[in-house]
Symmetry: C2
Subunit: 439 residues, 2 copies
Amino acid sequence: MSGPVQGFSKLSKEEKIQWVAQNYTHNPEQTTALLKKYWNTDTQLQKLHDEFIENTITNFYLPFGVAPNFQINGKRYTLPMAIEESSVVAAASKAAKFWLTRGGFRTRILGTEKVGQVHFLFKGEFDRLEQFFKSVKPRLISEATPITANMEKRGGGITQIELRDKSKELPDYYQLHCTFETLDAMGANFINSCLEQFAKTLKDAAQEFEAFSPEEKNLEVVMSILSNYVPNCVVRAEVSCPVSELNEDDGIAPETFAEKIIQAVRIAEIEPYRAVTHNKGIMNGIDSVVLATGNDFRAIEAGVHAYASRDGQYRSLTHAKVENDTFRLWIDVPLALGTVGGLTSLHPMVKLALEMLHHPKATDLMQIVAVAGLAQNFAALRSLVTTGIQRGHMKMHLLNILNQLGATEEEKLKMVDYFKTHTATHSAVVEAFQKLRAN
Amino acid sequence: MSGPVQGFSKLSKEEKIQWVAQNYTHNPEQTTALLKKYWNTDTQLQKLHDEFIENTITNFYLPFGVAPNFQINGKRYTLPMAIEESSVVAAASKAAKFWLTRGGFRTRILGTEKVGQVHFLFKGEFDRLEQFFKSVKPRLISEATPITANMEKRGGGITQIELRDKSKELPDYYQLHCTFETLDAMGANFINSCLEQFAKTLKDAAQEFEAFSPEEKNLEVVMSILSNYVPNCVVRAEVSCPVSELNEDDGIAPETFAEKIIQAVRIAEIEPYRAVTHNKGIMNGIDSVVLATGNDFRAIEAGVHAYASRDGQYRSLTHAKVENDTFRLWIDVPLALGTVGGLTSLHPMVKLALEMLHHPKATDLMQIVAVAGLAQNFAALRSLVTTGIQRGHMKMHLLNILNQLGATEEEKLKMVDYFKTHTATHSAVVEAFQKLRAN
């Protein structure tokens, strides 16, 4: 086996493509042509997209869809959704329309606290460490002023720095547990910059702290980094209506429908195998809007699922009940989102998505995104407890399979009709299609 | 507030765009032009992408980058990665190159079991339910034959159906807990189709089961659906080398470097605030390849984070140790992936990504994706315990901000140089850039 490819990142885009095509594909010319086919014809625009990351060779298309009819706190929205999975946009639209005539969605911010930590090792007396921390705290804040000044002008900044003793869990391990208000920014760069400054101040000040022994002075910072676990950066979204208004077109009584939804949610509250998929459906809605608005879905996913397991068992993010003949479904979800910084003012489609959402502040976007999750959950529960999940899903999937088989529009219509009464597995579709062509 | 938009989904793409542009943006003409600018000039290709989901109005570009120099079980790979976050591809490439000269990555499949459940309510004696289950089990399998026949021909199918008593957690609640082998398919459609058939058989057979009381016969299925929690569909990836070979170009001794990495991992093993972000970094690598290969990142995310919390506390997915002077870093991660079905044979870029990866089987892809996660973790840990996370990250982010400000190539070079010795927060960059222009 040969050594590393040297200097790959320094190659031009054309050279990178040539290298990949020749070394990893069977028809280099065809590969090159395909990659270029996905380039935007506007070279300036393409250059912008190329520079978002490293070694970009082309664009990966995610469908950008829209889900209309969302009413949130009395205001009408059409949600921009970037997602590759069929049925998600359709389900969101259907849920939005259902609730539009039943009061819409209501939301409320429960907190906006962001978190970061300086993780360090200290070999010595905790009492002296506490004493040191008290004395160094003002300096931690003042030496971070060059970083925090602008954020403070806008009303944000460092909200708290706390010393945490974790030495029972890991010998000599302590933290500066820090909280921040980052306003419309997601805040990763701001928080990490603050933390790295805290770490520097902490080390310097320890060296100078006279009560410390020589070993104590050599306090060692392991790392300084924000946390994507944000259990106090949470939004609540809910829908409710009189049970009697839960009329369905599937011929199910409103009371039965409410009861079935509540049973399904209760199961997701107590059974992790179910909860994971229940929440996965919620994330279909959440991530679609997170992606379209230029936010980082890995950060959101990590924070949400950790939150779902916060009491020691992985559970549903949504809850449902009937009280005084009123049905209510709600979600509490941690969402550290930004509407400035990052891609928000760079990616033209992200800018458009934010314009479509009436240029939201971060707290507005939190509410919209939570609603996207709740809508998705309602739609999934509704399918699950009535027709089953496969009917809606397979209809879209069927079209994808038929496209793959090169079906004509006429053939598609015939096949959709056929699979209204047959189970549309991949192999069944292929088989039926072959029969259709054979006739 | 007016009523719902009726029949939106039935509008043509042009009409949808017109409606969105006129109702939700300030300059409808400009909006329309922008959306169309992102269409592919090949109308057939665009139509294919439009049909993946509902209400598609354009394409959302994610950069498609490549990370070369991965050696996995002795074989060379270049990873296709679809991701909007800067530094991820660079970090992956850097980690790959580091390990290429130290034996590369080694991987092993620990299991491929997929899971699905029929959730039902039964009001009666558990003994009789068990007796019923025993008698109905062969029929559950035989009536699913039309769905399972093809999968069985290829060596997969239903592996187990188990009755689980959950009535202590929720009155009258029981499950058919079912496991499957779905080979190269992710298996969602197959599993859901099987489960919906199981549910039908279960209800029918209960009605006919003579030992049941009338109430017991009315066993009620709440829902039937696969689980994205797959703790037995797991792959292990690892790197190792003699500690003495962990030489770094950052002037840190190999032993210290190993020790610092191990400390950082240990912290992520015991502290949830850190673990969430530690794992988020891993998911940067995992999701990039998951997206590029047409798999569903929400499913993967949900399964992975639930797995990280399986013992009651959210913990690191990776582990590290030094034993006999050998440093070892490894990850165990549940990955239910597919390399057939879904988008894998529809999305031209997904097809190319799979070709680049030597047309992997699902188990091959599991191993590649796990390596992407481990590489990302190593790169993040390496930055965190040496230079800090901000240095590498801000360099790329700086270029994004400069693009946003419309900097020329010459201005960019000057600014990159300036921020080698200054903290590059967003506002600091704006300020420095304004000064540069003012000079």
